[in-house]
Symmetry: C2
Subunit: 258 residues, 2 copies
DNA sequence: TGAATAGTGTCTATAAGACAATATCCC
DNA sequence: GGGATATTGTCTTATAGACACTATTCA
């Protein structure tokens, strides 16, 4: 074996490595979680945003987030942040929460090196509005998606007055990633039902899908596909207070394990 | 079993090691990256694994990984770890690298709180073998997937002698997540071509797909679909040294941005 | 009764699976 | 020629899209 030189190289490299990354002596990246809380209504995807009171990005709008405690799980931290910043009562119950992506570009936070594990949470319209009402700090941002399909990229956030909301850090990119993930999973997972109340009509599901995908869908085939999944149960009840023939209300049934 | 004594020694050693470790010393989680380097051949998905020389999990097999430097990007750290632990030469060039998931359960590392951002990398068989040969520390693990479709869950890792390789930490879960992701993206992204050399036959792509999905595919329809993507270019050349009619060699062409 | 949307039935286009026939290499 | 796989073509079946028609509510 001729690895004398090689071995020397490796030793030196290891020494350098240990020097550079000795966790006791040198700073390490900090870890946060940030959650895109999303819902769908009025033909748009909406996110809950919190106004920042401190630098950096003071006055800009950010996703509810927090530093991760040393003994705390990531989802646990995400839920804690939602309760603290996006409504104590609205998140007392379970919420659909899924890990999205981890953003770790050095420089994404000008203060220090912060790696954030991004999550997204899905709730129905009513719960979303309750959450916003639950805190004085939160705003409703309507997402304006400047790309089609699953191209990806940051999104624009529009306030309730129609003016853009300036987002903090790379949170517009996190929201874009959430939209991309939603679009990708919508067709082959029951994720869309998380955005609807207990009972809903087929038209409401279609509206949710069309809003998320950003394009109209064929009504007949959407209906057929949806009923064919076996995930829907007719409740026998009908819609109320419509100016037309009321539609039947369905319920989402979790597929039992096979 | 003849390794009772051995095992007892290791346990005691590990206890002593953990005792000497002061978990209160650090108030924040540490961040690492770990990469599942994968390829496909002989009807199996294979991963590169590195034998651990230190506690915890001394002697067990782990994914190549490292702590993330305070000024270092996540992918950058992943590449650095690949070069150091999985072959300096094999990773001098670009490699397909994709973020997988971030594992942050408190307790996943018995020493201290470590959050790991997991990646997976895809290479063709030759490069994989070069990488393994490039280092004396690495082993080839064949993945035995105990679930179907995209159910998910940890996988078993089998060594070249057919005996199971004991994996460190939650790395069997990371590998399982990588397989799940591969299965999910195979049909609608060009990810499979990363596992093939420059030129390949349609049969070779099908073998890759069948191995990853774990089920046989209809040859006719696979062929049609593959050619219909417009991602393949016939090279005019033919396979060589076959015991039958040689197939045409194709090349993967990156779709130009629309 | 009219407006509006729900819900049903049928036809067509497209993609997937099955299968048969032919082509081409090595031995 | 025989063995083995590639490649092409055709038929059948499943699914999506298009469209016409009926049903049911409220104003």
């Amino acid at each position: 074996m001729t690895d004398n030189g090689k071995k020397g190289d490796a030793d030196r490299e290891e020494r350098e490595f240990l020097q550079a990354y000795d966790p006791e002596e040198f700073d390490r990246p900090a870890v946060t979680v940030d959650t895109a809380l999303l819902t769908v209504f009025d033909g748009g995807i909406h996110a809950l945003l919190v106004r920042r009171r401190e630098h950096p990005f003071r006055g800009h709008w950010a996703l509810p987030g927090t530093f991760v405690g040393v003994g705390e799980g990531l989802e646990e931290a995400a839920i804690r942040a939602l309760r603290r910043k996006a409504g104590r009562h609205a998140f007392a119950r379970d919420v659909y929460l899924e890990q999205l992506y981890t953003f770790g570009e050095p420089g994404r936070d000008p203060r220090m090196r912060i790696i954030t594990v991004a999550y997204f949470a899905l709730v129905d319209r009513q719960r979303f509005i309750d959450a916003v009402a639950d805190t004085g700090e939160a705003a409703i941002g309507r997402l304006d998606i400047p790309w089609e399909g699953e191209t990806g990229g940051p999104v624009q956030v529009i306030g309730e007055d129609g003016a853009p909301l300036e987002t903090a850090f790379d949170h517009d990119g996190i929201l874009g990633m959430a939209v991309k993930r939603l679009r990708g999973k919508l067709d082959y997972t029951p994720i869309g039902f998380q955005l609807l109340p207990e009972r809903f009509t087929l038209r409401q599901i279609q509206d949710v899908h069309e809003t998320i995908l950003g394009r109209p869908l064929n009504k007949d085939s959407f209906r057929r596909r949806m009923l064919a999944t076996g995930l829907l149960e007719a409740t026998g009840r009908l819609e109320r207070e419509t100016a037309h023939r009321p539609a039947e209300l369905y319920r989402f049934i979790r597929k039992a394990a096979v």
